[in-house]
């Protein structure tokens, strides 16, 4: 970029400043509203200063509002994790119990049925059973 190029760019920027100054009143008003809304998110100046102070104390490790809020958020996180772990363990135990119960029921049914237990080891009986189920 030569000096001429830079001068040319600055002249254009000066013209653009004029253009920005000549915005329609309606547009300027809407921009003001947008700014006010954005600033409202910052809360009022006293509150913003308070939060900043609290944040600084929390960083310094003292027990202020910010510190309490963070430790409470951290506590809730750990409670959530603990609940998930307990729930997972409970589901696993329940599934194991259900599996055991199913096996017990099957064993009981086999042992109490009229059919001799050796029949289940007979290949011919298995083939007959399979055909019967397919039909």
């Amino acid at each position: 970029m030569t000096t001429e190029d830079t001068d040319f760019a600055k002249k254009i920027a000066a013209r653009l400043d004029q253009g920005a100054a000549d915005l329609k009143a309606g547009t300027v008003y809407r921009l003001q509203l947008a700014r006010q809304e954005a600033l409202a998110r910052l809360s009022d100046p006293k509150r913003a200063a308070e939060l900043r102070l609290a944040g600084a104390h929390a960083l310094a490790g003292s027990g202020t509002l910010g510190g309490d809020r963070r430790s409470w958020a951290s506590g809730r996180l750990w409670i959530g994790i603990a609940l998930i772990v307990v729930a997972g363990f409970g589901i696993q135990q329940w599934q194991a119990y259900q599996q055991l119960k199913d096996i017990e029921e099957t064993d009981a049914a086999i042992l109490t049925s009229d059919l001799p237990i050796d029949a289940y080891l007979d290949r011919g009986f298995q083939n007959w059973l399979k055909r019967a189920i397919d039909e």
């Binding site: 002249k11 653009l16 400043d17 921009l31 809304e37 954005a38 900043r52």
Partner: protein
């Protein structure tokens, strides 16, 4: 208008953020207008950028606000185009009558240029007319620049960010910023010369 960039690392106060937004809002709107060419979309983009700055970056030093805001603004403009692309894809898919001649290529930026306010009512009407015409030609030329060249030019020379800050705001290298700026200046000079405009 000279832009004042503070160099102290103190966190921005409410008043500083308020003053910064008041100072930058008009230029931000014009930047968005050059890019999206629609007043309502440009206003939405500026509002989104302001909200993001105050919600997420208000705890930053005052000196970083210009660069951060420009970065947010550019990203918001890019998001607008991304959403527009997705929307137009769905519109094309859903509309059997969709024609290819509705693209932005046929857009004339002069149609969206705002009317001059009557704040210069005492000035010479002929001079005002000439200024308005030159302004329209400059803004039209800016709108026709490739997006990255326009971004680099406006950030560097209008927002007066330095090369490093411009690179950070555009998320590119400093070399790219210099290249974009140089190309933008030469393209603008050629377009204004073709229209018979001398500054």
């Amino acid at each position: 208008m000279a832009r004042t960039h503070r160099t102290d690392p103190v966190l921005a106060s409410y008043q500083e953020i308020s003053a910064f937004l008041a100072e930058v809002e008009r230029r931000a709107f014009k930047q968005a207008m050059f890019a999206v060419r629609d007043e309502h979309s440009a206003l939405d983009i500026v509002q989104d950028a302001m909200l993001k700055l105050t919600e997420k970056y208000s705890e930053k030093p005052a000196a970083e606000l210009p660069m951060l805001f420009q970065r947010i603004l550019q990203n918001t403009i890019h998001d607008h185009f991304r959403r527009q692309k997705v929307r137009s894809t769905w519109t094309t898919l859903l509309s059997a009558l969709g024609k290819g001649d509705e693209k932005d290529d046929d857009f004339d930026p002069l149609e969206t240029l705002p009317a001059k306010s009557d704040s210069n009512a005492n000035a010479d009407p002929a001079q005002l007319l000439e200024q308005g015409q030159i302004m329209a030609i400059i803004e039209q030329a800016l709108s026709r620049l490739p997006a990255r060249q326009r971004e680099a030019f406006l950030l560097r020379y209008w927002e007066e960010l330095d090369v490093a800050e411009t690179a950070a705001a555009m998320n590119c290298s400093e070399g790219s910023v210099k290249t974009h700026c140089s190309r933008a200046v030469h393209a603008l000079a050629a377009m204004l010369k073709a229209k018979g405009v001398t500054l």
